[in-house]
């Protein structure tokens, strides 16, 4: 565990961001996946499938969504140059993601509280479902853009933060003679980022279908529907994950570390075992086990990516420590996050106990 002892305060804080992102993926990710299954609902139990999704995510999606706010806030408080860089280079996909988030959330409550005719509710349902499909893809593309080093390279090219040297406050940075597309579009559109986008969508859908098998307890046919969907999504996720891994590893740079020395590959290998465990559990109808394995799989995929680019926050050159705010800010923020967790954890536990336990 000398790895842990060597961590700086900045790196500890970065792990807090990863944990919050992890929670967002595991919980809110499944809410987006639920929207995907609303879109893909078919067969004789189409309507029941949609109702189960709405019933499952209704009470919890807003709380789950807040994990994203935590990620954003800790990023801009503790790693302001990185936040500024993401906001600049990824302006377009982040804006798209926000539009997706706005439409998804609004359409969901509009449908839930509509007194209008059925056709109107159906329309909200479509908006909800389509935005649930688009948002995870764009989120994944942003992750892929950072991981592949393309965001970092775009920044270096415009002299924004090369080699971890950060311009001071007041020097506005006019982009050099680079085209708009080279700075603001190319970093997030590539085969690899598209593969990560597809993987995000597939994993979110897989999580949702797996969780929904438990939500459907007592409704055998509905449960079987989601069991089949979960297995299908798991297979798709495995294929896309393999493609993303191959594309990443062959592109060199930080991504070569996905399969090279270090912690990344072992984590990804274990994630593969959990993937197989989840599928086997679903086949054997061991749903509680499947849920745990599914969560572990997705978590380890995320951590595998993080370990591949550690200690960089924006590969290939901006390290976590170079981007970190002054030590006092980090320490006080960590203290507040710890104190906040004392309120948050029991509250979340209560929420889950009220809505997610059998009665």
């Amino acid at each position: 565990m000398d790895f842990l002892q060597r961590l700086t305060v900045g790196e500890w804080t970065a792990w807090v961001v990863v944990v919050a992102l992890n929670a967002y993926v595991i919980f809110a990710g499944a809410d987006f996946g639920g929207g995907v299954w609303d879109l893909l609902a078919w067969g004789p139990r189409k309507q029941q499938q949609r109702e189960l999704v709405a019933h499952a995510i209704g009470p919890i999606w807003e709380a789950n969504h807040v994990w994203l706010i935590v990620v954003v806030v800790v990023l801009f408080v503790c790693f302001p140059p990185a936040f500024a860089a993401f906001g600049t280079v990824l302006h377009l996909p982040l804006s798209l993601m926000l539009i997706g988030i706005v439409l998804r959330g609004s359409a969901f409550v509009f449908r839930a509280y509509s007194y209008g005719p059925r056709s109107e509710q159906r329309r909200w349902g479509q908006v909800f479902a389509i935005s649930s499909l688009v948002t995870p893809i764009v989120l994944g593309m942003c992750v892929g853009a950072v991981a592949s080093g393309r965001v970092g390279n775009a920044l270096a090219d415009v002299g924004h933060g090369a080699a971890g040297v950060l311009p001071s406050l007041l020097d506005a940075t006019p982009p050099a003679q680079m085209s708009f597309a080279a700075i603001y579009v190319a970093p997030w559109i590539s085969p690899f980022t598209l593969a990560v986008g597809a993987l995000t969508l597939a994993l979110f859908s897989f999580l949702a279908a797996t969780y929904l098998t438990i939500e459907a307890t007592g409704q055998h046919e509905l449960q079987e529907d989601f069991r089949r969907k979960a297995i299908g999504a798991a297979v798709v996720s495995m294929v896309v994950a393999a493609i993303a891994l191959a594309l990443g590893a062959s592109s060199g740079g930080v991504l070569a570390r996905l399969v090279g020395v270090g912690w990344s590959f072992p984590l990804l290998a274990i994630s593969g075992m959990f993937a197989i465990a989840a599928v086997v559990a679903l086949m054997k109808r061991r749903y509680q086990l499947a849920r745990v394995a599914a969560g572990a799989w997705v978590t380890l995929v995320l951590w595998g990516w993080v370990m591949a680019q550690f200690p960089y926050i924006i590969p290939p050159s901006l390290t976590i420590d170079a981007a970190a705010a002054p030590r006092r800010v980090l320490v006080e923020t960590l203290a507040v996050l710890g104190a906040g967790a004392v309120v948050l954890v029991p509250s979340l536990w209560y929420l889950i106990r009220v809505f997610k336990t059998r009665r």
Binding site: P59, P80, G87, S106, F180
Partner: protein, 439 residues
């Protein structure tokens, strides 16, 4: 459209949209908790009906508020990356705390909305109280972060960089108290009188079901005291601004020349070129008195500072006049309402005065317009600075060109959402009971 203007417009539009939802998100939970508490005390099912209907409105508004707030937290980086690079660590503390308040609010709102049949009555009421409290706390923390932009502190500036950052000192900045007090009261005043106005309109239309009478009483009980206290808090704010941000005060009051015994301009139109204010009612010594409690106090005018450090004077002055005028109307209606309540020995006296009902109906949108105007005063009045005296807005904006496109896209999105929300709420109000059921 220049990129800086587009970025400012997008931010202004996003804030103007979000603030309506966050204000109702602070006020409405208090109303629904009071209704639920009355139900538990009296056993009158009308109160329960009221709590449930208000909570449905709260659900729609909270969801739109939450997603539009998410947009804002990203826009800080999408539009103002250089501001965040400088200010992120300094103003992070209130944002981190707000994160938790918002988290708590979202969790307990979920429990409140979907938990009617799943938890005990006491636990349910408790959830509502947590929603109401964490809503206020969220608002206070966010406004504290904004107050720092007006009154930056908690760091030392060395060579354009912030060093020795002290997050808690930054949070406890000099503007924090007056701004959070003013905003919190505004939230209760606007929501209280806004809801009261809707029900007053229904009663004026002849629908005197108990539902509307009870709703009116609860809404007035929240909105009227807040509206009465608001002028006092406004005075505290104005005196702070007079002392700490003299340029903003000068713009608010359209006051061009530094002088002792400065008059107060009511209304009027400031001419920035000629440096004079036309068509205003002048109250001699008024400004010196109000700002410094001394008729001979010197009030600095805009001419004291270079032209490129002026905010857009006309916008700030007119917005300030609108805010004060509407706030005054709201306070007057509130006096009338509370007087009738007290003299009539009970809340039913509210529904027997058509004058009062008309006044409340007229006041329905006033609080929200006043809030938009007030934020125009504080934000436009701080220009050309994003961090007062330290960082100019023009230096904080993203280098990305073509910002007019995201501005138009988000404007279109919000206009659409706004229309839909109004339509949805209308449906809910129209469906309110016309008669007292089963009794």
């Amino acid at each position: 459209m220049p990129d800086l203007l587009a970025a400012r417009s997008q931010m202004a539009m996003s804030l103007a949209f979000h603030i309506i939802f966050s204000v109702i998100g602070i006020g409405l939970p208090l109303l629904m908790v009071i209704a639920e508490w009355r139900w538990m005390r009296t056993g009158d099912a009308t109160y329960l009906d009221l709590a449930k209907r208000w909570s449905k409105g709260a659900a729609i508004l909270f969801a739109v508020g939450a997603v539009s707030g998410t947009v804002l937290s990203f826009e800080l980086g999408l539009l103002w990356p250089n501001f965040m690079r400088f200010a992120g660590p300094i103003i992070g503390m209130p944002f981190s705390l707000e994160g938790f308040a918002f988290f708590t609010e979202a969790i307990f709102l979920g429990i409140y909305l979907y938990g009617w049949d799943r938890i005990s009555r006491g636990a349910h009421l408790f959830s509502g109280i947590v929603v109401a409290l964490s809503g206020v706390l969220s608002g206070i923390f966010v406004v504290m972060a904004n107050a720092w932009m007006n009154s930056p502190t908690g760091f030392d500036l060395v060579g354009g960089k912030a060093v020795d950052v002290r997050p808690f000192a930054a949070m406890a900045n000099a503007a924090a108290f007056s701004q959070t007090l003013h905003m919190t009261l505004a939230a209760y005043a606007a929501t209280g009188l806004g809801v009261a106005g809707v029900h007053a309109i229904m009663i004026l239309r002849g629908n005197t079901a108990k539902f509307h009478r009870y709703a009116l009483a609860i809404a007035v009980a929240v909105g009227a005291p807040a509206s009465l206290l608001q002028p006092v808090s406004g005075d505290i704010s104005a005196r702070y601004v007079a002392q700490a941000q003299p340029v903003k005060l000068a713009a608010m009051e359209a006051h061009f020349t530094t002088q002792r015994g400065a008059p107060l301009h009511v209304g009027g139109w400031p001419d920035e070129e000629k440096r004079e204010t036309r068509w205003a009612i002048r109250i001699p010594y008024g400004l010196s008195l109000l700002a410094f409690r001394d008729p001979d106090a010197e009030v600095r005018g805009l001419s004291d500072v270079p032209r490129d450090e002026w905010p857009p004077v006309a916008i700030v002055h007119v917005a300030f006049q609108i805010m004060v005028a509407l706030g005054t109307c709201m306070a007057l209606v509130s006096v009338l309402a509370l007087w009738r309540w007290w003299r009539g020995h009970g809340s039913d006296a509210l529904t027997t005065s058509r004058l009062l009902l008309r006044g409340l109906a007229l006041a329905t949108p006033m609080g929200f317009i006043a809030i938009e105007a007030g934020w125009t005063v504080t934000e436009v009045g701080r220009q050309p600075w994003i961090v007062y005296g330290i960082l100019r807005t023009a230096d904080a904006v993203t280098p990305m060109p073509g910002l007019v496109v995201p501005f138009l896209v988000f404007t279109l999105l919000y206009v659409l959402l706004g229309v839909i929300v109004v339509y949805m709420l209308r449906q809910h109000i129209v469906r309110a009971p016309r008669e007292d059921a089963g009794q």
